[in-house]
């Protein structure tokens, strides 16, 4: 394998990992906000892909605008879905045992899957490209504008999420609620509002990932489970409850899958990835960046 081919593989891996990072970020945000796993996160990625396919003819293709403009629209739409999701899957069950929330997210994920099947059909669909055409040639390597767009958009969204949670007043309040909702309320923060916002952000990020992945990897109603597993693995590898750990884990998964698939096959890469997960659980269950004492952010 030439160094040029290797560079291309690494770029592909980074782009894939960056999209996974958005899924994993949303996954961790919900875990931290409500202490429960959102098992519908994968279906919400799939829904984002189909939302992009549905909206594209209205704004992108018809108006001759680049697909990149779809990203904020899809995120806005999915953010709204996240608000509804919180009020369906979480709030009615928030005083019940956590398992009730797990089951409700699974149920909503299945509803989304069947809905997508009914509306779009079972066959895989191609999502709109972010930016069509070939990009610049660097050192003999032709960079695809689509891949650069995916990488750039995901990097921008990961950074923006980090800045939002770390530097803004709303972000601080979301973190306070994630760490101690009762005490957060005692200093004047409304926990329900912050939890709703956390769901909206998590689902918007899932939707963005759905759009970014839909062109290269297509989208079909049954994709959700796979995305969900990737988020789960990323969080396990990176460190449970940590946003930076989730991003690191997702990038490593993307690189691992792409590199191993290039030398073997995608199926082997998948199988080995689960092997890595098992090894991680056996030898370093706290992940690469272990959660400090109750440091949810």
């Amino acid at each position: 394998m030439t160094s040029l081919a290797l560079a291309q593989i690494l770029l592909n891996g980074l782009a894939l990992g960056a999209a996974y990072a958005l899924i994993a970020l949303g996954f961790v945000i919900v875990i931290n906000a409500v202490g429960a796993v959102n098992f519908a996160q994968g279906e919400l990625v799939m829904a984002g892909g189909f939302a992009a396919i549905a909206i594209a003819p209205l704004v992108g293709d018809a108006a001759g605008l680049p697909g990149l403009l779809l990203l904020p629209l899809v995120m806005l739409l999915m953010g709204g879905l996240g608000v509804g999701f919180a009020h369906l899957a979480y709030f009615p069950l928030r005083k019940r045992p956590r398992v009730a929330v797990f089951v409700s997210t699974i149920a909503i994920g299945l509803v989304l899957q069947h809905l997508a099947n009914a509306v779009f059909g079972a066959a895989p669909r191609v999502g709109p490209p972010l930016i069509a055409g070939d990009g610049p040639v660097v050192g003999g390597l032709t960079l695809s504008l689509q891949q650069l767009g995916v990488l750039g958009s995901a990097a921008l969204l990961v950074s923006a999420t980090g800045l939002f949670l770390g530097r803004t007043q709303t972000g601080r309040r979301m973190r306070a609620v994630a760490q101690d909702p009762e005490m957060a309320a005692a200093i004047g923060i409304r926990p329900a509002r912050m939890i709703t916002l956390s769901f909206a952000l998590a689902v918007a990020l899932a939707g963005a990932a759905g759009l970014l992945l839909s062109n290269q990897f297509f989208v079909s109603p049954n994709d959700g489970g796979l995305f969900m597993l990737k988020a789960y693995i990323a969080v396990t590898i990176g460190g449970w409850g940590r946003l930076d750990g989730a991003v690191l884990g997702a990038l490593l998964i993307g690189l691992f899958e792409t590199l191993v698939a290039a030398f073997t096959s995608y199926l082997v890469a998948e199988a080995l990835l689960y092997g890595v997960l098992l090894a991680m659980l056996a030898f370093r269950p706290s992940g690469l960046l272990p959660e400090r004492a109750r440091t949810r952010v």
């Binding site: 007043q169 601080r172 309040r173 973190r175 306070a176 760490q179 101690d180 009762e182 005490m183 957060a184 309320a185 005692a186 200093i187 004047g188 923060i189 409304r190 926990p191 400090r292 004492a293 109750r294 440091t295 949810r296 952010v297």
Partner: protein, 239 residues
């Protein structure tokens, strides 16, 4: 001293299947420190939690500035001007001190910064720990941050639950005069304490809880130290 900011009438609180606070009447005025004394399990923490809406009052009424607290959620009580510093501090461990203080204030950024500067003048040690994560702080530093967090919204009344618990005497010597200064600036303080010495060093009034019942409510000067000790320690007298 002004008219009562906080008035509790016939308040009862249930906790863990038993009565934690039983038909209690108490008031706190602006500029006044009321020391709420009692042994472990006397109902001090339950009363403070009930005032914040964290514990359900079984009966009775609480009013703050004449407004009925019964229908207000915890966050609304805090926004109305009740500051709360719980037992055990309960800081947000993964957040820095600075972020914690900012999160507790609804004012624009400039006012928040001014407020932090103002509180830092009251508790100078805050200045060198603003960038630190809360989980790294010592017990004394955590206590100061917990009080500072409660002060960020400029509350008219401050509920302090066992601020001396686990603190070195030298820290207490700085902490309690600072609480007195807060009251001197007009805030009402309801101070739940087990340490008689610390509480009486700054309080204007003393209230003693015994198994949830208020057995004394008097000016500090109107009751002797021995009498207070007797009330706190005697078992059968109030049954």
């Amino acid at each position: 001293m002004s008219a009562a900011l906080l008035e509790l009438r016939n308040v009862s609180v249930l906790r863990g299947g038993g009565i934690a606070v039983d038909k209690l009447d108490l008031s706190v005025s602006g500029g006044e420190i009321v020391a709420l004394l009692g042994l472990n399990g006397a109902g001090k923490s339950s009363l403070l939690r009930a005032i914040m809406g964290l514990e359900q009052s079984e009966s009775g009424a609480g009013r703050f500035r004449g407004r009925d607290l019964g229908m207000l959620a915890t966050a609304d009580r805090a926004r109305l001007g009740i500051g709360y510093c719980p037992e055990g501090r309960r800081l947000f461990p993964g957040m820095t001190v600075s972020d914690t203080l900012h999160a507790a204030c609804r004012a624009p950024a400039r006012e928040r910064a001014e407020r932090i500067a103002e509180i830092t003048r009251l508790f100078p040690l805050l200045d060198c720990i603003l960038k630190q994560d809360c989980w790294r702080l010592s017990g004394g530093q955590q206590q100061v941050v917990a009080i500072a967090r409660a002060l960020m919204s400029a509350p008219e009344i401050l509920l302090l639950d066992e601020p001396s618990l686990g603190l070195a005497p030298v820290i207490c010597q700085e902490l309690f005069p600072a609480i007195r200064r807060l009251a001197d600036h007009g805030a009402g303080v309801l101070l739940a304490e087990q340490s008689l010495t610390h509480a009486l060093s700054i309080a204007d009034r003393v209230a003693v809880l015994h198994r949830g019942r208020l057995v004394l409510d008097a000016p500090v000067g109107g009751v002797s130290h021995d009498r207070l000790k007797h009330l706190l320690l005697s078992e059968g007298e109030h049954g």
